[in-house]
């Protein structure tokens, strides 16, 4: 029995003995929850996965002694039996709910093997797109019907494989991917408070952004578009985490939150360099309008979804950047933008520090201090490297770093103490 299970039992005893109050017991129960997955369920699920893979490989061997009709009949009846048997054990009889669940998962794997079998019979290349999409269509209702994490992950994996394998141009299929992700995968992950699938869906969402940047600019993948994708992904991640910041179940929330802040920092840093900005504007004039619309729609959607208004503190500055960017006049925008970007870059790091302090989160606060220090070093190199003699450049740089680090460390310790 795990530590958490033991603790739950002890907590019950402590309440009975009057050692702690019910309220304290509840807090302890929430802090150390007992995970529902048992060894039986894990073994049954692993068994199902192995069996499913075995069946797929068995048919992959193109067994000659079976006729086409018989092969199809065997696959159809095997997944039907797995589903019905699983349902019987889990719900009707209710004696082996975990084995029943594993059989339902096996059914979904067998259904997938059926798709590949038929593709094989007719010499169709199923891996490119369609096979995965048909698998997803068949499995997502099962995920909803049984609130099954395994089937939800299978649906996510097949949907993402469909998108990657299809290499779709900017057409309906390309746009369908984020819609299905947001419309079918995320809602169930959120409803189930499914940490794993939630995180996996967030990562799958990022896969959409890189080719989107490429398609919109109608050029080959470039570093600049990678940076824009990074900025957008970080923004989306930021909003998503803001929206669910009170939820305790989200997996690696601090890590994801830090990633979103660092992602925005890296993107804004790139745009504060003259060469990067010039090259970017030459290659992609007004490329970012669709992004802007997407970002605004996202904010509206988030606000409507939760029916709560976001405060200024909730708005990451990256969004403001997107709002301002397209409205500079063509002739003046290069130099104006460079100044604006640099001011903005520093405001962002200062606000991030304030944010960490306001949230009383030392991790965010320390991270933001590091970002600020990196920003100072970057800009020092950017502005003064060409202007000063080398010796003066390095000596003054060294002095600046030394004094700066003493000052920052002093301030950081003081503020961390205030937080505590």
């Amino acid at each position: 029995m795990s530590f958490n299970s033991n603790l739950q039992r002890e907590v019950d005893r402590w309440v009975k003995e009057g050692l702690i109050t019910s309220a304290t017991a509840e807090i302890l129960r929430q802090r150390y929850p007992v995970t529902k997955t048992s060894m039986t369920q894990t073994l049954a699920l692993l068994g199902s996965i192995l069996l499913g893979i075995g069946v797929i490989l068995f048919f992959a061997a193109n067994w000659e002694s079976m006729s086409r009709t018989l092969k199809v009949a065997v696959v159809v009846s095997s997944f039907t039996l797995a589903y019905l048997g699983g349902y019987y054990l889990r719900y009707t009889k209710g004696t082996y709910p975990k084995v029943g669940y594993a059989l339902i998962c096996l059914g979904s794997l067998l259904y997938g093997s059926g798709i590949w079998l038929i593709a094989q019979i007719f010499h169709i290349e199923a891996e490119r797109g369609l096979g995965f999409m048909l698998w997803y269509v068949g499995v997502i209702p099962i995920a909803y019907l049984f609130h099954s994490s395994f089937n939800l992950f299978l649906a996510l994996a097949t949907l993402t494989s469909w998108f990657i394998a299809g290499k779709y141009p900017l057409n309906w299929a390309f746009l369908l991917y984020p819609l299905l992700l947001a419309g079918t995968i995320l809602p169930l992950a959120l409803r189930k408070k499914d940490q794993f699938n939630f995180t996996a869906a967030v990562i799958a969402g990022y896969i959409w952004f890189i080719p989107l940047g490429v398609k919109l600019a109608r050029v080959n993948f470039s570093f600049q578009l990678g940076i824009i994708s990074l900025l957008l992904f970080s923004l989306l991640l930021y909003f998503l985490l803001q929206l669910f910041r009170e939820e305790k179940w989200i997996f690696g929330k601090n890590l994801l939150f830090s990633l979103s802040l660092v992602g925005m920092f890296a993107a804004l840093a790139a745009f504060s360099f003259n060469d990067f900005l010039h090259e970017f504007l030459d290659k992609h004039p007004l490329y970012n309008f669709p992004y802007l619309v997407a970002a605004v729609l996202l904010v509206i959607g988030v606000m409507k979804f939760k029916e709560k208004s976001l405060t200024v503190r909730d708005l990451p500055l990256g969004l403001l950047y997107l709002l301002v960017f397209p409205f500079f006049p063509e002739t003046a925008r290069n130099s104006f933008l460079l100044i604006f970007n640099n001011i903005f870059f520093f405001i962002y790091t200062l606000l991030a520090i304030y944010y960490g302090y306001w949230l009383k989160r030392p991790l965010i606060f320390n991270l933001s201090m590091v970002m600020f220090a990196v920003a100072v070093i970057l800009k020092y190199f950017d502005f003064f490297f060409a202007l000063l003699p080398r010796s003066v450049f390095f000596m003054s740089g060294g002095l600046l770093l030394l004094l700066g680090s003493i000052f920052l460390e002093h301030k950081r310790r003081k503020l961390i103490k205030t937080m505590e």
């Binding site: 193109n62 259904y111 010499h123 019907l145």
Partner: protein, 179 residues
């Protein structure tokens, strides 16, 4: 209450099973329709031999028109507007032992009354001669496990043709023959 829920779940599960069977049936019917109603054509192939993770041994069939030389076939394609995965219609006519492309077009109306294949553009190499790289989803031929090498050897010894059924642009490989 619980019983009603359980009852509904059962019917919903049966519906989902029917949906899954329906999807598989649609795949089968679609392919059978192409085989049953399609024109039977013979195409020259150049085979290779890799392996598909899910589908066992198969031979990759490369057709001469996978790399279509647009200087050697009639076409109405605007080469500046060729996009990745765009549909191209390839009309076929019998020439000697095999069928060969006689027209490449973006307009399906031009091939409506002919035997034609629908291909997807992979890419265009404009220089030194305009070569259009196309895919038709008839490039795979699945063989029993372990027989890929044997079949490859056989077909490399002679001139190999694929027997293909073509119906409204879609095609299915029915078999390989050595002549």
């Amino acid at each position: 209450m619980l019983k009603t829920l359980a009852g509904n779940k059962k019917y919903l599960l049966i519906l989902v099973i029917l949906l899954q069977i329906g999807i598989l049936t649609a795949m089968v019917v679609n392919s059978y329709q192409i085989i049953a109603r399609g024109d039977k054509v013979t195409l020259k192939v150049e085979p290779l031999d890799p392996r598909s993770l899910f589908q066992g041994d198969y031979v990759i069939l490369s057709y001469p028109f996978n790399n279509l030389n647009l200087n050697k076939v009639e076409h109405d394609l605007d080469l500046d507007k060729i996009n990745y995965q765009q549909d191209i219609y390839l009309a076929l006519e019998p020439k000697g032992e095999a069928w060969e492309p006689v027209l490449a077009t973006q307009n399906p109306a031009r091939v409506k009354d002919k035997t034609y294949l629908t291909g997807k553009v992979l890419y265009l190499r404009p220089e030194p001669q305009p070569i259009l790289h196309l895919k038709f989803n008839i490039e795979n031929f699945f063989v029993p496990e372990g027989k890929g090498k044997e079949i490859e050897k056989q077909i490399q010894e002679g001139v190999v043709y694929a027997q293909v059924s073509v119906y409204k642009g879609k095609a299915r490989v029915m078999g390989l023959v050595s002549k």
